[in-house]
């Protein structure tokens, strides 16, 4: 791959202007670029920029582990230089001279592509010492995990880079003041950083606020779709070619596995933006839409979700460590037909009590359980009344 020299022109311009920080932050504020939970990026940039520590870091979170989400892998495979430019720009803005891209250990192909792109960028002096003779140094390194969902949480990721188990840290202090090796650290997602060159090129006002939607499940054309925030779900469904085999839509998880499920009749009326989904009792999260048709067994889906959280709970906080396993055992009981109606109450009780944890993993698990029982209680009751069934073990 040859570097398209059109790339990095925003980076070059920024360095020529001796890194006009306030301008970058202003444009990003106008563009209202948001992170995963709808928090503004400009705010955290501002905090780190105003911190005058001797060393600051920028981390790119490429630990894409959220089931149903594959946009970051797509960006790294198709446009690595855009991402590198975004990291360099944000790094220079906050005053970081060292950056790390933390890529999932399973992503051998994206790691190889990013490594190659990084070498190209160093050779062209887009990174390294005295970039474009501006006197500014910026080093970017690739590092990787080794299979842990929780390392997508920013403080767990920092622990992992420091060479420890990926256990989330208690916050505050926030990473913007005490992050990697105790220094102020900006942690941003791949998609967020890859957007930044575009925003600065088009100007915050003109930026079209597009999000990448990963669509998977029972649809005809699954894939990554770049759409403006606020697109109606109906339109998106038409775009992805509708449901496979002319079946009917049953439910959607709009923000990856950790977002509460929304039944068809509600989701068809929704627009895909942070606010409407929060109002509908779910969240946009990572924009990974998992679409299910009418044949889907909701108890089975919840069982798989519960297993995922049980496996991935890091074990630091008791409510999550014990609660996720307990949820799995009860859902497993119901799925295999040994459940009782009382078990549903227990499930609701457990999920209301997984709180006061350091990170959001346990809360996500309990939100999933609550949403499944709220919308599909009848299916659970049917499974219980049906009694013992032999399922294929997989």
């Amino acid at each position: 791959m040859n570097i398209d020299f059109d790339k990095y022109k925003i980076w070059k311009k920024l360095l020529q202007q001796r890194i006009n920080r306030s301008n970058v932050i202003e444009e990003l504020t106008i563009a209202n670029l948001c992170g995963r939970y709808g928090t503004s990026i400009a705010t955290s940039l501002n905090i780190i920029t105003n911190n005058h520590a001797h060393q600051k870091y920028i981390l790119c979170n490429a630990d894409e582990g959220e089931p149903g989400t594959f946009k970051d892998r797509h960006i790294m495979l198709t446009d690595p230089h855009q991402l590198i430019e975004g990291i360099a720009i944000v790094g220079a803005t906050i005053g970081a001279t060292i950056g790390y891209i933390y890529i999932r250990g399973e992503f051998l192909e994206p790691i190889a592509i990013m490594k190659k792109a990084l070498i190209e960028a160093y050779n062209a002096n887009f990174l390294g010492k005295n970039i474009f003779k501006s006197g500014y140094d910026f080093d970017l390194h690739i590092t990787h995990g080794a299979g842990s969902y929780i390392c997508g949480e920013e403080t767990a990721m920092i622990e992992s880079i420091e060479g420890n188990k990926g256990l989330p840290r208690f916050k505050p202090p926030w990473t913007t003041s005490v992050g990697l090796y105790g220094c102020p650290t900006g942690v941003y997602n791949v998609e967020t950083l890859a957007n930044i060159p575009d925003i600065l090129e088009q100007g915050g006002k003109n930026w079209n606020n597009c999000k990448m939607f990963s669509v998977s499940g029972h649809v005809n054309k699954p894939g990554v779709y770049k759409l403006p925030l606020g697109t109606a779900f109906k339109d998106l469904l038409a775009m992805v070619g509708g449901i496979k085999n002319n079946k009917k839509l049953k439910a959607v998880m709009p923000g990856g596995l950790s977002s509460p499920i929304i039944p068809a009749e509600v989701v068809m009326q929704l627009h895909l933006d942070y606010q409407s989904l929060t109002q509908a009792g779910s969240m946009l999260g990572s924009c990974g839409l998992i679409i299910m048709d009418e044949t889907t067994c909701m108890v089975e889906i919840l069982l798989r979700i519960a297993k995922f959280y049980m496996d991935e709970s890091c074990g630091k906080c008791s409510p999550c460590r014990e609660g996720t396993g307990w949820i799995y055992r009860i859902v497993n009981k119901i799925y295999n037909g040994y459940g009782s109606l009382q078990d549903l109450e227990v499930l609701e009780h457990i999920s209301s009590n997984i709180n006061n944890t350091i990170c959001g993993l346990g809360t996500m698990a309990s939100m999933s359980v609550k949403s499944f029982i709220k919308h599909f209680k009848q299916e659970f009751i049917e499974k219980i009344q049906l009694g013992t069934v032999v399922h294929d073990q997989y």
């Binding site: 894409e64 594959f70 399973e106 992503f107 080794a146 992992s160 029972h218 596995l257 997989y394």
Partner: protein, 163 residues
């Protein structure tokens, strides 16, 4: 745990040294995940206690710190694995697209359950979480290489080619 540590060969230590340079001088420990990954690959896909001790010695950190990391991350194997490590994603998106048939076919064909290795250590079958290729589900990985949109026919073809 055994206290015996073996010397890591030069080709391995030079690779680890390159990683150490990425991090600040006083934070050699940061290279641990990379070091274990390199050593695991060198040792045919798994980490013995001797090797864990060797990594601890080389990075000048307590052995327990290495054991902790090696047992926390799911990609590190602490028992011998087969020549071909087959990882099948069984998470929701793949489940909706039929990973159950894929998984049971693999299990029958290899006569293995998830987490088991064949007696001749040719195959290991493993259940993994989302591999972030849900648009091409069902997905599986053989020694790190992705196989997307797999079907039973594709599996038969792949398995026949693996020697």
């Amino acid at each position: 745990m055994l206290d015996i540590a073996i010397e890591l060969p030069l080709e391995i230590t030079s690779e680890i040294d390159a990683w150490i340079l990425k991090f600040p001088k006083q934070h050699k420990k940061s290279a641990i995940i990379a070091a274990l990954t390199i050593v695991q690959q060198y040792n045919g896909g798994w980490l013995s206690k001797e090797l864990l001790n060797a990594v601890a010695n080389y990075l000048e950190i307590p052995k327990i710190a290495v054991y902790e990391v090696a047992s926390f991350y799911s990609m590190f194997e602490l028992k011998p694995v087969g020549k071909y490590k087959i990882c099948v994603c069984t998470n929701v998106s793949c489940m909706l697209c039929g990973c159950k048939e894929i998984a049971s076919h693999l299990k029958n064909k290899l006569n293995l359950n998830f987490g088991e290795s064949s007696k001749d250590f040719k195959f290991t079958l493993k259940e993994v979480e989302c591999l972030a290729a849900c648009d091409k589900s069902p997905v599986m990985q053989i020694n790190g290489k992705y196989f997307e949109n797999v079907t039973i026919d594709v599996i038969d073809k792949i398995l026949a080619e693996l020697k």
